[in-house]
């Protein structure tokens, strides 16, 4: 007794919880630090590509290995400065700069490493321009002259830059017109010709092809062909016009080159423009990246089709996964008799979430594409065979494959939400004479909506970032058409599509010019993260709104 009291009086218990607070906090801190670092790297690299930095002109010392085609003058944007280990006999390290020198058509490469030791002098010439071209990446050089059909304008002329801007704008307008003719108008004619040929083949398969029908279709085809030729002629004329004017420029390394005006998209003076012009250029570059189609094996241009494809696919997936998961969860939680079988099913569902996604891809290819798609083709589109319609990868099958992959997430979170609805609410409803289904429909489901949306958020986060299964069921490097357009039936679920996740893989590992593609990888990654965050934020906002609506202190 006295021993006990002495203990309790004189010995103070240590505050045993404190060390664990620090320890667990430290791990959280490390996790946060890693995430912030990763995001920082992605944001910095992803955005810096759009910032028009100054172009450095370097005079090299004699005998430098960095000289391009024997010229000691090299100009380019500094992309990277790094330490490099020197050869064994010298020892130590040296700094080198990586310059983006552009003019890939002239040099055969776009980047050059230059030892800082080899640099004799650095200048930032104001006359230097950087121009975006349709092909071969950017042009870096000094304007010399414009050779227009009406005559030549020398760079020394006072109105030279105005003329240059004007002809580039004309060229851009013509390019849009050519695009509109070839993609929209000729595309529509081609589609109607295809449809006519299909109807002929269909009639043939059904044994209804009469001579009258054949001549009618032939006449229609001839009419379409005539219209096609008119449009094709117009496009050819515009193309010729694009090549009529020439822009003459001098490379920083020396030597003059010419480029058709129609191949220039825009230009600016990287060493002359001020901060606000730079910022404006930065914003317009980002806008082009978001809204334009990719060019040159995806290393240039925008990623709009990939954004659109990812968005539509995630949306279709959500539409498919929510009813499926919710109904399955309702059966599991509300109707089935809780016992070993249901427990086994529940464990199986949970484990399904751990199956490698590529397995779902293979399943999707076998079941959705070959079995379901093949059946649809032979039932509804026999005239198109052997060309598959639904019997090949497409956005519908990709969405369903991802829906299948993410359905366990929705089932688990829906089940939890259903289980969390209080017995009081259920009993009140049943006691009022409601049937079980009425209780689920009117009381249990509305109260579970926030939980269901949580499941959807998780499913979208997983689905939108998934690449491996998509490669088997419908993603392509470059899709010629979007899954939504103005041609009936407007939504084309059988079409192949582009996806940001696959785009990252394609740029990073399948690109012919990995240096040129690298910033695009970061930019695309940033965009994919942004898209997932946007979709999640939308779902979370919706959930909070609903939670407030159904919030209940009484349950």
């Amino acid at each position: 007794m006295s021993l006990f009291s002495r203990h309790s009086h004189h010995k103070v218990e240590p505050a045993s919880g404190e060390p664990m607070v620090w320890f667990s906090g430290m791990w959280l801190g490390i996790g946060l630090l890693m995430i912030v670092t990763l995001l920082g790297v992605i944001v910095k690299n992803g955005l810096s590509i759009f910032w028009p930095s100054r172009v450095m002109q370097v005079e090299l010392v004699d005998g430098s290995a960095a000289a391009i085609q024997g010229s000691k003058t090299v100009a380019g944007e500094v992309r990277k400065i790094q330490e490099k280990r020197l050869q064994a006999e010298k020892g130590g390290t040296a700094r080198e700069k990586q310059l983006f020198v552009g003019n890939r058509d002239a040099y055969g490469f776009g980047f050059r490493y230059i030892d800082e030791a080899d640099i004799a002098s650095i200048t930032y010439p104001e006359d230097l321009i950087l121009a975006e071209r349709v092909e071969y990446g950017d042009l870096v050089g000094y304007p010399v002259a414009l050779k227009l059909p009406k005559g030549e304008v020398r760079a020394e002329a006072p109105d030279f830059l105005d003329r240059l801007s004007a002809v580039i704008a004309e060229g851009n307008a013509r390019r849009h017109e050519i695009e509109s003719i070839e993609k929209d108008q000729i595309g529509k004619i081609n589609q109607r010709m295809g449809a006519l040929r299909l109807s002929e083949r269909k009639a043939e398969l059904e044994g209804k092809l009469t001579e009258d029908l054949r001549t009618e279709i032939a006449a229609d085809l001839a009419e379409l062909q005539r219209r096609y030729e008119i449009l094709a002629g117009k496009a050819a004329a515009l193309r010729a016009e694009q090549k009529a004017g020439l822009f003459v420029y001098r490379l920083p390394t020396g030597g003059e080159r010419e480029i058709a005006i129609g191949d220039l998209m825009q230009y600016y003076h990287p060493n002359r423009i001020g901060f606000f012009e730079r910022a404006g250029h930065f914003c317009s570059e980002i806008w082009h990246f978001l809204t334009r189609e990719p060019r040159e094996a995806n290393t240039e241009g925008g990623v709009f089709p990939a954004i659109f494809g990812t968005f539509v696919m995630t949306l279709l997936m959500s539409i498919a996964v929510v009813p499926f998961g919710v109904i399955a969860a309702i059966y599991l939680r509300e109707y089935s008799k809780q016992g070993p079988v249901v427990r086994a099913v529940r464990i199986a569902v949970n484990n399904l979430a751990g199956v490698p996604s590529i397995v779902f891809g293979v399943f999707g290819l076998g079941f959705f594409v070959y079995f379901l798609g093949g059946s649809i083709d032979s039932l509804f589109f026999p005239e198109r065979l052997p060309t598959p319609t639904y019997g090949t990868g497409g956005i519908l099958w990709a969405s369903l494959t991802l829906a299948l992959m993410t359905v366990p997430v929705v089932i688990v979170s829906t089940e939890e939400a259903l289980a969390a609805v209080s017995r009081g609410a259920r009993e009140a409803s049943l006691a009022a004479g409601a049937s079980k289904w009425q209780t689920i429909q009117r009381i249990v489901l509305p109260a579970s909506v926030p939980g269901i949306i949580t499941g959807l958020v998780l499913a979208m986060a997983r689905g939108a970032g998934e690449v491996a299964p998509l490669m088997l069921v419908g993603v392509v490097k470059l899709a010629p058409t979007l899954p939504l357009d103005t041609v009936a039936p407007f939504i084309h679920l059988e079409r192949k599509f582009m996806h940001l996740g696959f785009h990252i893989y394609d740029l990073g590992f399948q690109s012919p010019d990995s240096e040129a593609a690298k910033p695009m990888v970061f930019a695309t990654t940033l965009l994919l993260i942004g898209l997932v965050v946007t979709l999640n934020a939308a779902a979370i906002l919706l959930r909070e709104k609903l939670r407030r609506k159904y919030a209940s202190s009484a349950f």
Binding site: E427, A428, S429, G433, I443
Partner: protein, 286 residues
Amino acid sequence: MEEIHPTQDSDPMTQPSSTVSSAADAGASDPPARKKDYIQVRDFCFNYTPAVRVLHHITMDIPENEVTAFIGPSGCGKTTLLRNFNRMNDLIDGISHEGTITVNGQDIFDPNLEVISLRKRIGMVFQKSNPFPKSIYENVIYSLRVAGQRNKEILDEVVEESLKGAALWDEVKDRLHQSALGLSGGQMQRLCIARAIANQPHILLMDEPCSALDPIATAKVEELIMELKKQFTVVIVTHNMQQAARISDRTAYFYLGKLIEMDATLKIFNNPVKKETEDYISGRLG
């Protein structure tokens, strides 16, 4: 105790009290036939699992238009019996029962009986008020909504009548379309009563309706119960013996799953037959 004898209100409405007490005195014997619904429990046993029997051979009659109180210590089975009257225990897996319960002469465990129609005739108010996260209006008409009633005039009328019946109309008539979750605890419980009577049930089951309420709200609900028995047959489970004495006409005392004694409230509280009842009422037990 005499001053608050509760049967005075109901005397004009119900049978002469001599009939009531004779039915209660008779216990297991057949009571005289009545015109309205009432509950007969015959030799009823109830098990949660085959090994756990919580009600042992209960036999009782619950007369119409009276308030019958179930009292007894916690775990004595009074709530379980109450929840059997509208088969709320169906939600629990593994239950079984013996004996019969009839409501208005109809066996409620008859496999041909639609349990939903049974529940429509029996309203229930729970221990913890459980309004739905909907508007006050929607809460009241919930039972009509699930029955498919769409006529706006009827619904409006039912809302007004039920809320007046639950003595809540004056407090909420200006905010019928606001969330029921904004009401106070006492108001919520009266809303639950309004919801329970909206469907014009014959019987109202109340499972400790005042246990979560303060004395003022309790007094309001008790007053309401006294009023409700003019229209409904009320069965109330309560832990509060003063409450049982104040509002009930008949009281049944349960102990360890057995019905020890059931009689007119006055008799139970003043002159119980069984010693266990007297011990409980005088505070020596439970």
